[in-house]
């Protein structure tokens, strides 16, 4: 019985939260890694693209709610998401036109593009604050739990409870669908193969008649769709706060680099690796240890949650020191 309780506790406090957080990171890291592979720079504005998109989604959600449109048990934000993606994509393609294309045509060094993206990041950050404010916003309507603690206890008779929130289940389902669609697109479609070819060998792709500007536009579109989806899911799961999206940039980059920059599969794996490490290191394991028959003195928490970003830093440093191309052999940083 205690064994089962320990297992349920691990599921409830570590596996489920880490899986949904990992899925959000994976979606974010996919965007970062695609941009790195095709446009060959680290896009620092990615976190704020997530925030900007999520803010638009919230505004549209409010609009839909005001006219009485909803999705029943599912959050209305899901309905608003496609519109949020479309609007953000227009903005992002605008930044490419106004900012990045200039440096691309000059064939500037990647670091210059990175710095330009820092500028874009500050502008988007400010815009988002201006549009929606700096306060914490909860916008998850519909049903709250798929499985609640009380229900679970009643079903199983265990003393330990387990809950699965709708937002968590939704995150996992949407991420799985997005990854499936993305990998199918990259591996099967002509445009997807052209993107991979361009990422592999830019000059040869040009010789083969692949239009670089089209590839670049497509990459921005896909990265934006992934970013806005990730931002919305993160906001549904944890609540929306502009500053949080700035902070999440670090674990996202850690995920992309751990997996190997430019490698989409690596980005997904990296997202889960970072999330599971972060949750495992900051979770107090006392309860589970007690179930397993130990009598620990302290909380058995390796790191307080305030320091969770240190985990990303440590993973980042270890990977860069010992395997700079990442686990799945992406491009070296």
């Amino acid at each position: 019985m205690d064994m089962l309780n320990a297992l349920v506790a691990i599921l409830n406090f570590v596996v489920i939260p880490a899986a949904s957080y990992g899925a959000q990171l994976a979606l974010g890291a996919l965007g970062v890694t695609l941009i790195y592979g095709i446009l060959r720079f680290s896009n620092f504005a990615h976190g704020d693209t997530m925030a900007f998109g999520a803010a638009l989604v919230i505004l549209i959600t409010w609009g839909l709610q005001a006219i009485g449109i909803g999705l029943g048990p599912l959050p209305t934000a899901l309905l608003a998401l496609p519109f949020g993606i479309a609007l953000t994509a227009v903005f992002i393609l605008g930044t490419d036109r106004v900012v990045y294309r200039f440096y691309r045509s000059k064939r500037s060094a990647p670091i210059i593009l990175v710095m330009a993206s820092v500028g874009v990041m500050f502008i988007m950050n400010g815009l988002t604050r201006l549009i929606i404010g700096v306060d914490e916003i909860r916008f998850d309507d519909g049903a709250r739990f798929l499985v609640s603690v009380q229900q679970f206890r009643a079903w199983t008779g265990l003393s330990e409870g387990l809950s699965l929130r709708v937002s968590q289940a939704l995150t996992l389902v949407v991420t799985a669908l997005a990854c499936w669609a993305l990998f199918r697109f990259l591996n099967r479609s002509r445009a997807g193969k052209a993107m991979r070819a361009y990422s592999d060998n830019e000059d040869l792709a040009l010789l083969s008649g692949i239009d670089p500007e089209r590839v670049v536009r497509l990459t921005w579109l896909i990265a934006t769709a992934l970013a806005v989806t990730a931002g919305t899911l993160y906001g549904l799961d944890k609540s929306f706060k502009v500053f949080n999206y700035f902070q999440i940039l670090l674990p996202i980059f850690a995920a992309a680099i751990v997996g190997g920059l430019g490698n989409p599969l690596g980005a997904v794996a990296g997202g889960f690796i970072v999330a599971f490490s972060e949750v495992a290191v900051t979770y107090p394991w006392r309860k589970i240890a007690t179930y397993l028959g130990f009598e620990p003195q302290g909380l058995l928490q390796l790191l307080s949650t305030e320091y969770k970003f240190a985990v990303s830093f440590v993973i980042l440093i270890v990977v860069l020191l010992f395997r700079p191309t990442g686990l799945f052999r992406g491009k070296s940083v």
């Binding site: 002509r190 193969k193 052209a194 991979r196 070819a197 592999d200 060998n201 000059d203 040869l204 792709a205 040009l206 010789l207 083969s208 008649g209 692949i210």
Partner: protein, 236 residues
């Protein structure tokens, strides 16, 4: 006699202020193998890049099948029937062999499966590895993929920049055999080679370039027999 299929005449130009090409002329007939040889820094690769439009010419003219293409970009020349295999970075390493060929056929709107079958027939070694990433193949097989990729547009002129660089002598012979086979199908070949002696053996016409200008031009056999050429360029 009619104008040759490819005729690049009096090419002058370079990357900076100083010209690398000083009045270089290259012509290739249909189905012929033309080989450019010469010492290091003679402008062999540059001459080929000029033919392909990767170098802006200050003077001179490039014509393909009688049409002046001097002002066209490399991409436009591919559509006119030129195929180019760069010396390095000539494949998509993380894509499969089959996908490499598909990318070669990117500009084609029609069904290219026939062409792909022909490429596999020409290079059976890579046909067995069509689902494998091109970057995982051996050097010789990569070169075959690279040539195959360029053949996917069904070019009428195939340009090869040192196709045998860095491969073993056995693989080199094999590659040259394949190149002869390609030429037999009516495709003209223009090739830059370090392995001058072996390349001239298969050449219908050989160009010896020195300092960006033609020094000797003759059939491959005649150049090999010329004591002057042998002494100065072929090491005895």
């Amino acid at each position: 006699m009619a104008e040759p299929y490819l005729s690049a005449t009096d090419m002058r130009g370079g990357y900076g202020k100083a010209d690398i090409l000083n009045g270089c002329t290259l012509t290739v007939e249909r189905g012929q193998i033309a080989v450019i040889v010469g010492p290091n820094g003679a402008g062999k690769s540059t001459a080929m890049k000029a033919v392909f439009g990767m170098l802006a010419l200050r003077e001179g003219k490039v014509a393909l099948a009688g049409e002046d293409i001097t002002r066209l970009t490399p991409q436009e020349r591919v559509r006119k029937g030129m195929g180019f295999v760069p010396q390095t970075h000539n494949i998509f390493p993380t894509m499969t062999v089959e996908e490499n060929l598909e990318m070669g056929a990117f500009i084609r709107e029609d069904d290219y499966r026939d062409t792909m079958a022909q490429v596999y027939e020409l290079f059976p070694a890579v046909a067995d590895k069509r689902r494998q990433n091109a970057g995982e193949l051996s050097g010789g097989q990569r070169q075959q993929v690279a040539v195959g990729r360029a053949l996917m547009t069904r070019p009428s002129l195939l340009m090869l920049d040192e196709p045998t660089a860095g491969v073993s002598p056995i693989v080199m012979d094999e590659l040259f055999d394949r190149i002869i086979e390609v030429a037999r199908t009516g495709i003209s070949i223009l090739m830059v080679e370090q392995n001058a002696r072996q390349a001239l053996e298969i050449a219908d016409i050989g160009y010896v370039l020195v300092q960006g200008a033609n020094r000797y031009t003759d059939s491959g056999q005649a150049l090999l027999a010329d004591p002057e050429v042998r002494r100065t360029f072929l090491g005895g």
